[in-house]
């Protein structure tokens, strides 16, 4: 049996895909979350209901959407409505998961996709919240997918775009966000993280193959909670890689 080779991105997508729960509604952001959702729907979550913000719900993901409004987001879908309906569906508590990216993340899972540096005189102007803030506000559980390095995993995000736990325990509800919501995981190029149930701080959960705790710590710009037992993420299976390469991203837009 030959060892498969795979990229960090492929691994990240596979680990993320395994987090999708079958038979749930899931808000899918642009990019990597789309690949993960497709992989999940072709493997462990055949009854996943993908929701795309501009109106597509329940699409059959036969081809990779390259935009959150294109026809692939409602291909053989169960409904194609508008953005208000989708966001209001989330606001009513109907969307179980939200999969998101961002340029920065902090220990409480807050995400930044607006500016690096000061808002009014930014060093880097990023695209903006898009639906990110809405997803982080209304979906029951959110999962972030990020490259792992110390410039991205920062003690404090330059601009708090998408709410994680804000300043810590109780802060979401105090701010008026719906009870019972919040981030539950971060999938990075190095590991899978969750959050400590009491402190709400990011916690290492399991390592990608070949990655050490020290490597994760060195690439994280804040103190990560390290539990006594750290798990190990399985490498991509041959089938996962085949699906990713042949069916999901044959044009190699991401992988």
């Amino acid at each position: 049996m030959t060892e498969q080779t795979y990229s960090k991105t492929e691994l990240m997508i596979c680990v993320a895909a395994r987090l999708f729960e079958d038979g749930t509604t899931c808000f899918i952001g642009t990019g990597i979350p789309m690949l993960a959702a497709m992989l999940a729907s072709k493997t462990t979550a055949p009854n996943l209901v993908p929701v795309f913000e501009f109106g597509g719900t329940g699409a059959i993901l036969e081809e990779l959407p390259r935009a959150v409004g294109e026809a692939r987001t409602f291909h053989k879908g169960i409904s194609a409505l508008g953005i208000c309906d989708t966001m209001e569906t989330a606001q009513r508590g109907f969307i179980d998961y939200g999969f998101l990216g961002g340029a920065q993340i902090d220990p409480y899972g807050n995400l930044n996709s607006v500016t690096i540096g000061e808002h009014d005189h930014p060093k880097v102007r990023l695209p903006g919240s898009g639906g990110g803030n809405d997803v982080g506000s209304h979906c029951w559980q959110t999962i972030a997918i990020m490259q792992h390095d110390a410039r991205r995993f920062v003690p404090k995000v330059d601009f708090l775009t998408t709410p994680g736990f804000l300043t810590g325990p109780g802060a979401r509800v105090a701010a008026g966000l719906p009870p019972g919501t919040g981030p539950i995981a971060v999938v990075s190029t190095l590991a899978l993280m969750d959050y400590h149930p009491e402190s709400c701080r990011m916690r290492l959960k399991s390592l990608h193959p070949g990655v050490t705790v020290e490597e994760v710590v060195a690439n994280t710009g804040f103190e990560l909670v390290i539990p006594d037992k750290v798990g190990a993420n399985a490498p991509p299976s041959a089938e996962e890689l085949r699906l990713l390469r042949d069916e999901i991203d044959p044009e190699k837009l991401y992988i």
Binding site: T30, G31, E53, F54, G55, G56, R66, A67, V68, G69, E70, A71, R72, T73, F74, H75, A80, L81, G82, I83, C84, M87, Q91, N110, V114, H119, H121, P122, K123, V124, R125, L126, P127, G128, S129, G130, G131, G132, N133, D134, S137, H138, F159, L160, T161, T162, P163, L166, A171, R172, A174, A175, G176, L177, P178, E251, L253, Y254
Partner: protein, 325 residues
């Protein structure tokens, strides 16, 4: 129900409900008149320097790209823009015609962040960015569409989004729930691309409706571009498919392949090389200028644009369309 917190962002386009009502009473005819015109006429007549303008949906999805190019071609400037955009707003940013942004997302989606946005904002050429989420900006238009001064939401609470927006936080007087109030937004001009319209402006859309319903009801002037102009009898046969009624509309522009290089559900797909050309060239100011020279300034109108693209590529896009099957 006192105000607990107020965003410090500028209210770029203040809302006056009674003025909007008066506008809708006096400036929008209820008569079924022929509103067809060329894109040049429509932009010349309704888009002016400094106006507050928006496009629907996204540069790559059912977007009035032919109108967006004409705005650049006619040299309109100092635009204040309601922005969730991909190619269309990127083009405007690269052309240097945007002064203020109610921004939600301007990016190239699968191709990442945009260099044109970075250049325009980081250089200070765009003077103001006020932040909103995609939901919030849509609800701001929905408020205007409903004829009310604000709508509540739980979006933006607790974040810098609220701080750098122009929203206000209050307690709901019925239940004590904390909510953000979003001020209504009325655009001076809205550009919307649809599948079919009659000459009066009654519009049909297929696939997702994005925020077309809200935006069409939240603007003072509405320019429609349509893939196809159909007889009014066809509209009257399916009144339940008219999502934008004629009395909202000021101009109807016939624009086949109006969303190209973006897509039109069930009609044609994205032209990936066409999109990538902008992605690559816009990485530098020079490249962007070259693109604009080639596809905008160097051409007289959308018909010439389509000639430049050529039948073969358009036909390829048609092959790639989503099908009802």
């Amino acid at each position: 129900m006192q105000v607990l917190e107020s965003g410090i962002g500028e209210l770029i386009q203040p809302f006056d409900l009674d003025e909007f009502r008066e506008w809708n009473r006096t400036k929008k005819t209820r008569k079924l008149v022929d509103k067809r015109m060329t894109e040049q006429e429509a932009i010349r007549q309704f888009v002016y320097d400094g106006c507050y303008i928006g496009t629907e949906l996204y540069g790559t999805v059912r977007c009035p790209m032919s109108l967006a190019r004409e705005v650049v071609r006619q040299g309109r400037k100092n635009l204040r823009v309601c922005g969730q955009g991909v190619l269309e707003l990127d083009l405007w940013l690269a052309a240097g015609i945007i002064k203020k942004l109610d921004i939600t997302y301007i990016g190239l989606e699968v191709y990442g962040t945009t260099a044109a946005l970075r250049r325009a904002v980081e250089s200070g050429q765009v003077e103001t960015c006020v932040e909103w989420s995609n939901g919030s900006i849509s609800w701001r238009m929905k408020a205007a569409a409903m004829g009310v001064p604000f709508l509540p939401t739980r979006s933006m609470l607790g974040t810098d989004m609220l701080k750098y927006s122009a929203a206000k936080v209050v307690e709901d007087p019925f239940t004590g729930t904390k909510v953000a109030l979003l001020p209504a937004l009325v655009l001076d001009v809205a550009l919307i691309h649809v599948h079919r319209a009659d000459k009066h402006g009654n519009c049909q859309i297929e696939g997702i409706s994005g925020f077309a319903l809200e935006m069409s009801r939240a603007c003072k002037r509405l320019i429609i571009s349509a893939e196809e102009i159909i007889p009014t009898e066809e509209i009257r046969k399916y009144p339940d498919r008219t999502v934008i009624p004629y009395y909202l509309v000021d101009a109807v522009v016939h624009a086949p392949y109006g969303s190209y290089p973006g897509e039109m559900a069930y009609m044609y797909g994205r032209d990936e090389p066409g999109i990538k050309e902008w992605v690559e060239m816009s990485k530098t100011a020079e490249g962007a200028k070259e693109y604009l020279d080639k596809y905008v300034y160097g051409l007289k109108n959308h018909a010439e644009y389509l000639k430049l693209i050529g039948d073969e590529r358009l036909q390829q896009a048609v092959e790639l369309r989503e099908k009802r099957e």
